[in-house]
């Protein structure tokens, strides 16, 4: 028995109190019968305009308010009809046609037409907001988009600049930027030729299962079932998403029955509610890859031996089993689970001796480097764990913690030494990650290719770049898969990127909530199937 019994009473009272917390207490708040109440961190929402929205939480909203040309079967990465009921590509490999489903209406009552679909794509390209690259990578520009995206009757035609794997195009069209907006309603609210940009910041013009009732940035939004939905019956009348920043608070709300779903519980909280019969936890891959990027302009980080040694200095399994438990799984390649060509192998593990001998052989003296991380609990903890293991091989890491935009600014400006970053796919096609991790046409500072991770960390991908460009044109799925597998293996072993984890979404909810699809790494959340 430890010699510290005297400390017990104080702790005991608190501990006893904690245990009581799991027992049903008198004052249980209940959520309204017909409403799904979700506690989530939604302060990342910058925009709710499909042409601009690019963050996770905004995607959930847009996915339920708008329909896109092509949809994913909820919970999978399988393509299914959206606004377009069928699609095809011509022999030339660049002319894509889409047949628009008849009989669907927008929330305004206007029918959904090919004209609306064409307008939506033209609008997104012309506004040229951040996610526009998903469309512009096919050669669409604000100047040519009116000619290349056309409609006739219920047929939409998109002409791209060069042949690529057709599934690549279709995958891109499931992205939220391809959501179809109500052309007439939007143009009614146009100010100074802004294509309804101001108006769509706080209003919606979709045909999805729900209409947007209220949106209070950083506080909440409420969706209301729009009526007959062409994909099936909407089960719950309302969805109420509350911004709750603290995971601990989300857990309290969930335990007290004040919310149906909590999106952001920490591993500790998930473990804490494990014994609670009234609650359950669903898991889905979140799609985010956590990686280290070593700036190749900085000595000795550009020494292959150093990079190699560092791969052996990360305690992948140790972290995943302890403070990251359940929410991060080791992943040592850049494609997340479920993507074409995704690799599950994890050849690297913590091996300090091996790392030391690699450094010794290469004649690398002990050195100090700066590790930049975002001021976020998980990342700071990963940073501290790295600090610990790196130190054992003589690499001193100084942690530099900053706000998201600050850390990002440093990375984009190529000012970092080592930075801990995460990357989520933009559309369910392997090219989304391959194109940024392995493509860097001009490694000079002046090039300013800030959108490319390879450029940001000054990495010259060499042959990998051609391999990626070839892979995106390959139309045979099996060949394409093998190409991505090879690209990832080379990248894993030679690039200055050290992929470490893939994030897993743990969604905690009341036991009576069913068919809530969080979307995972590929898609956004689907509310309309949920019941309770």
């Amino acid at each position: 028995m430890p010699s510290t019994l005297w400390f017990r009473p104080a702790g005991l009272a608190l501990a006893a109190a904690m245990m009581l917390g799991t027992a049903p207490a008198a004052l249980l708040a209940a959520t309204p019968e017909d409403t799904l109440v979700i506690a989530a961190q939604i302060d990342d929402i910058v925009s709710i305009d499909p042409a601009e929205s690019f963050e996770k939480s905004g995607g959930d909203l847009i996915n339920n308010v708008y329909d896109s040309l092509i949809e994913l079967v909820p919970g999978t990465s399988e393509l299914t009809g959206g606004i377009a009921e069928s699609w095809d590509v011509a022999e030339d490999g660049v002319t894509f046609t889409f047949t628009i489903r008849e009989g669907i209406t927008f929330h305004s009552g206007n029918p959904v037409r090919a004209e609306d679909a064409a307008f939506s794509i033209q609008r997104a390209v012309k506004l040229d907001k951040t996610p526009a690259f998903i469309l512009t990578q096919f050669g669409l520009t604000p100047d040519n988009v009116d000619e290349r995206v056309t409609f006739e009757g219920n047929t939409l035609t998109i002409l791209i600049d060069e042949p690529v794997a057709p599934t690549f195009v279709y995958n891109c069209l499931t992205a939220r930027i391809a959501s179809v907006v109500d052309k007439e309603l939007v143009l009614e609210n146009e100010v100074d030729g802004d294509l309804g940009y101001e108006w769509l910041k706080s209003n919606s013009a979709g045909s999805g299962a729900f209409r947007l009732l209220t949106f209070r940035p950083n506080e909440s939004y409420v969706l209301e079932a729009a009526g007959d939905y062409w994909r099936g019956d909407v089960q719950l009348n309302r969805v109420f998403v509350r911004h709750v920043p603290e995971p601990a608070t989300q857990r309290l709300l969930l335990e007290r029955g004040d919310v149906d779903v909590a999106r952001d519980l920490t591993p500790v909280d998930v473990e804490g509610i494990a014994g609670n019969e009234a609650l359950k936890v669903d898991e889905a891959p979140a799609g985010y890859i956590y990686y280290l990027a070593l700036n190749q302009k900085v000595e000795p980080l550009n020494n292959p031996a150093v990079i190699e040694a560092m791969r052996w200095l990360v305690d992948y399994q140790g972290m995943a089993d302890t403070f990251l438990k359940g929410q991060y799984i080791p992943r040592q390649s850049f494609l997340p689970t479920g993507f074409l060509g995704a690799l599950d192998e994890t050849p690297y593990s913590l091996d300090i001796e091996k790392a030391k001998s690699i450094l010794e052989e290469a004649g690398v003296e002990p050195f100090t480097a700066k590790l930049t991380v975002r001021n976020n609990q998980d990342r700071m903890e990963i940073g501290q764990a790295l600090q610990n293991t790196f130190a054992q091989a003589g690499i001193t890491l100084n942690l530099s913690v900053g706000a998201g935009a600050e850390v990002l600014g440093e990375f984009r400006g190529r000012q970092h030494e080592i930075t801990l970053q995460s990357w989520g796919p933009d559309y369910p096609d392997p090219h989304t990650n391959a194109s940024t991790f392995t493509v860097n046409p001009d490694n000079s500072d002046e090039a300013g290719l800030t959108g490319l991770l390879a450029w940001r960390t000054a990495y010259e991908p060499g042959e990998l770049q051609e391999m990626t460009e070839a892979a995106v044109r390959e139309s045979d799925a099996d060949t394409r898969r093998a190409m991505y597998e090879e690209i990832q293996r080379i990248h894993r072993d030679t690039s200055p990127f050290i992929p470490m984890f893939e994030e897993v979404d743990q969604i905690s909810m009341q036991a009576n909530v069913n068919d809530y699809h969080p979307g995972g790494g590929v898609d956004a959340a689907t509310y309309w199937l949920a019941t309770k």
Binding site: F7, G272, F323, E381
Partner: protein, 301 residues
Amino acid sequence: MTAMMTWLRDPNPQSRTQARLGQMWLGWLRMRRNPLAMIGLMIVLALLLMAAWAPLLATHDPLTQNLSQRLLPPGSAGHWLGTDEFGRDIWSRIVYGSRVTLYIVGLVALTAPAFGLLIGTVSGYFGGWVDQVLMRITDIFLAFPRLILALALVAALGPGVENAVLAIALTAWPPYARVARAETLTVRSADYIAAVQLQGAGSGRIIWGYVMPMCLPSVIIRVTLDMAGVILTAAGLGFLGLGVQPPMAEWGQMISSGRKFLFDQWWVATVPGLAIFTVSLGFNLLGDGLRDVLDPRSASR
């Protein structure tokens, strides 16, 4: 000893020194009768000793991680206050954290009053438009939401212990300036200042050599009373991740990282919280006792 005490308690002191020492002795007696102030004194002394003897008191290295020993409850073998999410010994981190706390408190206690003293004495000594301008600036800083200003400053300067100190100091100086100015106004017209002026001393020398020393005592009293506030502000900055950077142990930051374990591993956040509470209570009790002793207006009533 008795002779010494009689000398100290002599109601008719023979010299300034005797009078002053006698006053201090009386103050000490008065404070010794205040049990709360004595508790405060003991807490502060304990903090000083803890910081000085940290390597002896700590049972583990505060930085060494051991993921297999993480989140052990208090009373576990070898970790009587338990371990944190990296398996680091909480007691050792608390012990080393006291150094950081003292460091911050010490630096703020040196910088903010110094700046306030400068502004206050210059303002009070010159009067006129200098006074107007400086006091207007002081007013602006007083009208500022201090906490928000400190947050914004650290956000601007970047997180880190020196920047946290700077931010706290920059928001804490105006009251000292006020106190110093008030003192200066009473000193300014004194004959001996006039005498020094007649000897041709420059304003700088007069302020530095004659005015500032007169203002020091009242400023120092204010500083003692403000200590606990500084500790809490520093902890708050640490809590928001704007203070000391990991892996160094700082109490506010320890609470912040223990926050997510609050429900299941309560000790990770509770223990540093108690440490902050105890230490700032100690400073508050001591400061309160000192105020009773040093401020004749509130004394013995």
